[in-house]
Symmetry: none
């Protein structure tokens, strides 16, 4: 059993260095997939991988791999660690980068300690996890898992009119390896929680046992525009009011249910959007998440039933468009138990939890046993420059990853 | 007593011609105050006024006047007719335009019939009655009545960031007359009901004896943006959900009260307006109307109390900005009786009623005896392309206006 620990200074130094790369004119961190800023971040990562003496491999979708193999274990499937280094607009420095740099740190620590792995250990930085510039998100890991043909992914048109394949060529990261070339024996992703639970409960380590399913829908309600002063309340077909009913319905249902279900209406617009005109149309989005597929389907059905009832009582027309749908993912019980055991051995409290956000791990879980390790996010803040995790928690999380990998790579 | 009648073909022809002006790419009628479309409508009106041989005068807020005066009555206060020709977004062709064109039609009819008026007769098209682009609405008539300093009105910032004064300059309708230069002896405004009452009761003429009070407010709710997947329902400060609560509160209260109170939320916007982010800010408008000032104040107080309660329970910050506030208006009994008498003489049923909409007449009522004449709106539909009044009713209403004006201008 290893008593090794990672080099805290090296890990935190790289994290802050990478966080300086890709700042815009206003000092905001913006490393969108395929951009010049992304190239600068990738170049730094590749230099660190090389300096650690690992083999660098890049596949056709631009996923970067740092591989530590030996002559003895060359034929074995790899222990794969990883996450992503692309960011949202005005991002924090931890999301994704922490997992990639910790993976590299863990391999470098084992390597220099003379650890003898039974199989190769590799770290991956997957392309376009955030999906801000190119949809869908988690694209690089989805392609690696065979869930999206690489040609289709490369042809993706960006929000700015660019094509991902051309941008990867331009920045020099359209690699030659076929996606999926690296066969994972197991996958472990270390990540900040991006939620408030661990901090609130004072638990440093989250053993992530599953990941919420996501249902995204756009709802359009059509009523009748009419004069706000002369139309009696009883004669109105108010699309805006009907939309408000849906928002309160979703909130009350999720709030009162004793389940992890979360429901969010993030986008809303009224037409004609005039102060003295009853809205003729309201358009809004519904984001439903639940770790249980049956319950997620039940929530979708409850919404559909409510919309049908509302259409009748409010005399409005309602149409629904599905924008995205991912089933919940259950992670590998054995790896989750290794995370709990490692925390115990280091005297750290841990908690089994559900990931509320999407991660590359859910894609790799399609082809290999996978799990995640979470560390606390102060105030649950993420996708925001105020995203932060205390250094001690960052170091503890990386050491738990070290312990889990040394166990997985021992046989 | 005149037995004259207006030229139905001329009136209806101009009404349809004006209704063709200001159509957008989708064929929607959009003549917002100060826009290029507004300019096109104004140009057509001014040409018709000139063709009728009337004097054209434009004041600093852009109100257009067509004045028929004689050497003998030059010192007398005028009989003023009028309304507006600006529209909402995706409007019908009758709202406002019917009153302005009927006023012109009446003057033209009397003039060519050799009628000798004891005082000047003028028709006015008041600027920005709808208030869609610039608040408050009924702005031109408010300025004419001295209720708003012209400099303040000209400095109004539009929803699109434009300034009204600059837009009036740009379209060539920043006139030189001081607002209020034309002193009304009496004011009569002919308008479509914009409500369902006259049609439902089969009465062609409404003798409008009073007008609802109007309260416009903009409410801004500040919560906290956060990740839609990782933030438990119990830890959310969702500004969008709080806004939805206000919408349903207002609707339920007005719907269940046995009063003429109407409440409308016409504008709504969320920030950051992203599908997977809990709204940090929601901004919306509240339009409250009631013919009784005491009841209107009670409704405003009830909203304020609910907002205070909501701020506490939802942990959000709520600020309210007053956009406009008009007390209910009582019109001139003598003019209302002249309308009823004229209807009797023409064998038309009439009904005393309350205006649910705001009209320029309520502003001019501050400085002169004023009243309104309503004609039926099919289905009560207004502020909508399906707004319609049968031609026979349009012609009948204009003839009632003709009779009332000939009586008022006789002494």
């Amino acid at each position: 059993m290893t008593t090794l620990s990672i080099d805290a200074g090296r890990l935190l130094g790289r994290l802050h260095e990478l966080g300086k790369i890709g700042r815009d004119g206003d000092g905001r961190l913006v490393r969108l997939a395929g951009s010049d800023a992304d190239k600068a971040g990738r170049d730094a990562l590749v230099a660190w991988i090389r300096a650690a003496g690992l083999e660098v491999a890049i596949d056709r979708i631009g996923n970067i791999f740092g591989i530590w193999g030996t002559a003895d274990n060359a034929d074995e499937a790899s222990i794969l660690l990883g996450s992503h280094i692309d960011t949202v607009i005005d991002a924090g420095i931890y999301d994704g980068c922490y997992g990639v740099l910790s993976g590299l740190e863990v391999i470098q620590t084992l390597k220099s300690a003379g650890f003898v792995p039974a199989r190769p250990i590799a770290v991956a930085a997957f392309t376009n996890e955030e999906g801000v510039r190119y949809a869908p998100d988690m694209m690089g890991s989805l392609v690696h898992a065979g869930g999206l043909p690489v040609e289709e992914a490369l042809a993706t048109l960006g929000t700015d009119g660019t094509v991902l394949g051309a941008e990867l060529e331009r920045i020099g990261y359209a690699g030659s390896e076929e996606p999926g070339f690296l066969r994972p024996h197991a996958y472990v992703e270390l990540h900040i929680e991006q939620g408030p639970v661990l901090e609130r409960e004072g638990v440093p380590i989250g053993a992530v046992e599953n990941l919420q399913g996501i249902s995204w829908q756009r709802v359009t309600i059509e009523g009748e525009a009419n004069h706000a002063g002369t139309t009696p309340m009883s004669m109105r077909r108010d699309a805006g009011h009907a939309a408000a009913r849906v928002v309160t319905f979703l909130r009350d249902r999720a709030r009162n249910a004793n389940t992890p279900t979360v429901a969010t209406v993030g986008c809303m617009s009224f037409e004609p959007n005039a102060i003295n005109v009853i809205p003729s149309r309201a358009t809004f989005t519904v984001d439903l998440r639940d770790p249980d597929e049956g319950r997620l389907q039940a929530e979708e059905a409850a919404l559909a039933a409510y919309l049908a009832e509302l259409a009748a009582t409010e005399e409005v027309t309602i149409s629904v468009e599905r924008l995205a749908r991912f089933e919940p993912v259950t992670f590998d019980r054995r790896i989750v138990e290794l995370v709990e055991e490692a925390a115990r051995r280091r005297g750290l409290a841990s908690k089994r939890m559900t990931s509320g956000a999407g991660h590359d791990a859910q894609m790799i879980a399609r082809i290999a046993p996978a799990a995640m390790i979470f560390v606390p996010s102060i105030g649950g803040i993420s996708h925001n420059p105020r995203e932060r995790t205390p250094d001690a928690d960052l170091v503890a999380g990386a050491n738990i990853l070290l312990d889990v990998v040394s166990r997985l790579a021992a046989q």
